[in-house]
Amino acid sequence: MCLAVPGQIIETREEAGIPMATISFDGIRKDICLAYLPDLGVGDYAIVHVGFAISKIDEASALETLEMFRELGVLDDELALDEASDP
């Protein structure tokens, strides 16, 4: 139920009254329905599932999460050094 992937909106329009968008996944372009994210526009990233954008991706949050992982790596290295030096 969960195969949903991030893509970038490159065009928005309306078709038969339904908000639609062209989304690019690394160059692959697909028409998807934007009805559930009406405030999104060109340049925004969204999670797409079965032809529908269901959630916006928050860039700041993504960067924060990655930074947290990197800090964890540094912390792990420091702890490993501590453990190695304690007999």
């Binding site: 139920m1 969960c2 195969l3 949903a4 992937v5 991030p6 970038q8 038969a16 009254g17 339904i18 996944f25 690394d26 998807i32 329905c33 009805a35 559930y36 994210l37 009406p38 990233y45 999670i47 599932h49 079965v50 032809g51 529908f52 269901i54 959630s55 916006k56 991706i57 928050d58 860039e59 949050s61 993504a62 924060e64 999460t65 990655l66 992982f69 990197r70 964890l72 790596g73 912390l75 792990d76 702890l79 490993a80």
Partner: protein, 375 residues
């Protein structure tokens, strides 16, 4: 791909494995209730690289797996009717019913088509006014908004040749059923990130309160899955039980309100039978009164098809983590991916099928980093 590749970084994964190994002092059982997460775990070998003390139990998170046998038989019956164009997501085509699957119906002349989006099925109805177009509307809450929109659009356009065979299932009642069972072995849950992107996280608060189990909303890439596991382990080691969101870049507390509004309009809650598990009260969605004219079960008169599940099948026990796939007497003999008995062998996401495909050997493991991740 942006927002995917960064969350696949093997070095950062190594850091997460190390941290999990460092903090784990006791055995814990953690369940994910999402086929996508199960796939990610098995495909990347995450369960192999976790400390032995951590057991991952693959819950009933695959809508293909849990679609009851009777519903498949209804689909097969409808698809074999002349004049019908039966549309389905690709996953469902190989799911066997009592006697055959949709592929076989196609080979016998049924017009069965794979669609990527439910709106493609609506479009087929528009383009083929003299045919009956039926869409197999399965899925958890992630897929339901798309399916709801298809029915809504069909109504708006006054289509009389479109209907949906609805078999939606809901995650929170499944978690509740598992955690409230007297046999429950699960200590903590990974909640399905994309389900939560639609529904929000608020539904899980009451479960955490009532049952005292940590629930962490988790994503799908290796780093996301590891972070979800890490947070559950951290809570379990600390003796806390809280709801956490480890997929904040996509999931908000309130979820997608527009989608929830459409769901409330098109669907209503109902009891639902889950293949191999049995009936879980109020765990499904069916079409609301206003849209019942689009119900394929009624239109094609298949409501009374009611197929009992196999007696030897122990899918339910596997899904609840009570037994491992290879502990089922039918595993690999009477029940194989080619001739599956129950939910967990039906789809390659199912625990039994995954076990069958990926566990035929004990292979040496080489960790992403050189730290001591005990095997």
């Amino acid at each position: 791909m942006k927002y995917l590749d960064e969350f696949n970084d093997p070095e950062l994964a190594g850091a997460l494995f190390d941290d999990i190994a460092r903090m784990t002092t006791k055995p814990w059982s953690i369940m994910e209730v999402c086929g996508g997460q199960t796939h990610s775990i098995i495909r990347n070998g995450i369960d192999q690289l976790l400390p032995d003390a951590i057991e991952l139990i693959h819950g009933p998170g695959c809508p293909v797996c849990v679609t009851p046998l009777g519903m498949i038989d209804k689909a097969l019956e409808i698809a074999s009717r002349p004049g019908v164009i039966f549309c389905s997501f690709g996953d469902m085509l190989r799911v066997p019913g009592s006697a055959q699957d949709l592929f076989q119906v196609r080979s016998e002349g049924g017009d069965v088509r794979v669609v990527y989006s439910p709106l493609d099925a609506v479009q087929l109805a528009v383009e083929n006014p003299d045919r009956e177009v039926v869409f197999f509307a399965i899925g958890f809450e992630t897929t339901a908004p798309a399916n709801a929109m298809a029915v809504h659009v069909a109504e708006q356009r006054g289509l009389t040749n479109f209907s949906a065979l609805v078999s939606h299932v809901l995650v929170p009642p499944a978690i509740e059923a598992i955690v409230s069972s007297p046999h429950n072995r699960v200590d903590g849950f990974l909640a399905a990130g994309h389900v939560c992107s639609v529904m929000g996280t608020w539904q899980y608060g009451p479960l955490v309160e009532a049952f005292g189990v940590p629930v962490v909303v988790t994503g799908f890439e290796p780093l996301d899955v590891l972070e979800g596991i890490r947070r559950v382990v951290r809570q379990l080691e600390a003796g806390t039980a809280q709801l956490e969101n480890a997929y904040e870049r996509v999931v908000t507390d309130e979820g997608n309100i527009e989608a929830q509004d459409m769901l409330a309009e098109v669907f209503e809650v109902c009891d639902r039978r889950w293949r191999g598990v049995g009936e879980i009260p109020r765990s499904g969605w069916r079409l609301a009164e206003r849209y019942c004219g689009f119900d394929a079960e009624v239109r094609f008169g298949v409501s009374d098809i009611d197929t009992p599940e196999s007696a030897s099948c122990r899918s339910g026990d596997v899904l609840q983590g009570l037994i491992k796939p290879h502990e089922c007497p039918a595993f690999g003999t009477e029940c194989t991916p080619r001739h599956p008995l129950g939910a967990t062998m039906v789809s390659s996401e199912g625990a039994c099928a995954a076990y069958y495909h990926y566990r035929r050997l004990d292979l040496p493991v080489e960790a992403a980093r050189t730290s001591d991740v005990s095997r």
